[in-house]
């Protein structure tokens, strides 16, 4: 009789689920801010876009939006990778790739927004 093998619990599934919901709730006001700021930008793109991040509120909301959406996205991509890829090595490889890309992008964009905030 074959023994049924069950993958060992990593004890981190519930926090993954919970953090995905928390970041989703946090993204609701941030998305509304993005839409409203697009309305502002579109009235005068050439004049407003260069100084957009000079306003502290915009810089704060921009940094929060990019980091939160990348966090939410990396959690979501992890679920998709775990669902559709069977090879366990590939699963870990792609999850690592997604995490590294997200962290790299988040750090780079935070520094870029700070630079735009301070220079413009």
């Amino acid at each position: 009789m074959n023994k049924i093998k069950i993958a060992p619990s990593t004890k981190s599934g519930s926090s993954h689920w919970l953090m995905q919901r928390f970041s989703a709730i946090a993204l609701i006001p941030l998305t509304i801010w993005l839409t409203l700021s697009f309305v502002e930008i579109l009235q005068d793109p050439q004049g407003y876009l260069p100084v957009f991040f000079a306003y502290p509120f915009n810089a704060v909301m921009g940094i929060l939006l990019i980091t939160t959406s990348l966090y939410h996205g990396s959690l979501g991509m992890r679920v998709i990778i775990e669902d559709y890829i069977t090879n366990s090595f590939k699963i870990y490889f792609y999850i690592m790739l997604v995490n590294f890309t997200s962290i790299l992008t988040a750090v780079a964009s935070v520094i870029a927004i700070l630079r735009l905030h301070l220079l413009s």
Binding site: K5, A7, R21, A24, I25, L27, I28, T31, T35, F38, V39, L42, Q43, Q46, P50, G62, I66, S69, L70, G73, S74, G76, M77, I80, D83, Y84, I85, T86, N87, S88, T101, S102, T105, A106, A108, S109, I111, A112, I113, R115, L116, L119, S120
Partner: protein, 144 residues
């Protein structure tokens, strides 16, 4: 068959994957669920692209300057970017609306089949309406 596949992929465990989309008959609940995932992936990549655009935008010394070019490649790229922007806009609104529906599901509300299907139609229609409003306002502001 399984053994052959095992050899091809070299996997150690023989655990099942989640059922793929081509097995099921199309209906509104599966359509919204699949498109939620698809739009999520699209938004993830577009957020990365936009973030790197901000990074490259910030490295320009004269931030206000814009380059103009009349070459063919620029026109092609611009139309591709316009199409991508419309797709991203729809994906964002759709993921936003359907995400709120998912949050209500997590609270244990709206599981009744009729209400779930009605909410799915509301989500699709509101996402389409928001997209049309956004694009038409952009076109309106550019024209006048």
């Amino acid at each position: 068959m399984i053994k052959k596949k095992k050899e091809q992929t070299g996997l150690k465990s023989n655990r099942p994957t989640s059922p793929h989309i081509q097995i099921y008959r199309w209906n509104i609940s599966s359509l919204t669920s699949i498109f939620h995932r698809l739009s999520g992936v699209a938004l993830y990549f577009s957020v990365i692209l936009i973030a790197w655009f901000i990074v490259f935008y910030s490295t320009k010394i004269n931030v206000g300057e814009t380059e103009t070019c009349d070459c063919l490649m620029m026109t092609v790229m611009r139309s591709i970017f316009t199409l991508a922007a419309i797709a991203i806009t729809f994906s964002l609104y759709y993921h936003f609306c359907n995400g709120i529906r998912h949050l209500f599901w997590d609270m244990g509300k709206g599981f009744d089949l009729k209400i779930a299907n009605r909410n799915a139609i509301i989500v699709i229609i509101s996402a389409l309406a928001l997209t049309i409003i956004s694009i038409s306002s952009v076109v309106y502001l550019k024209l006048f």
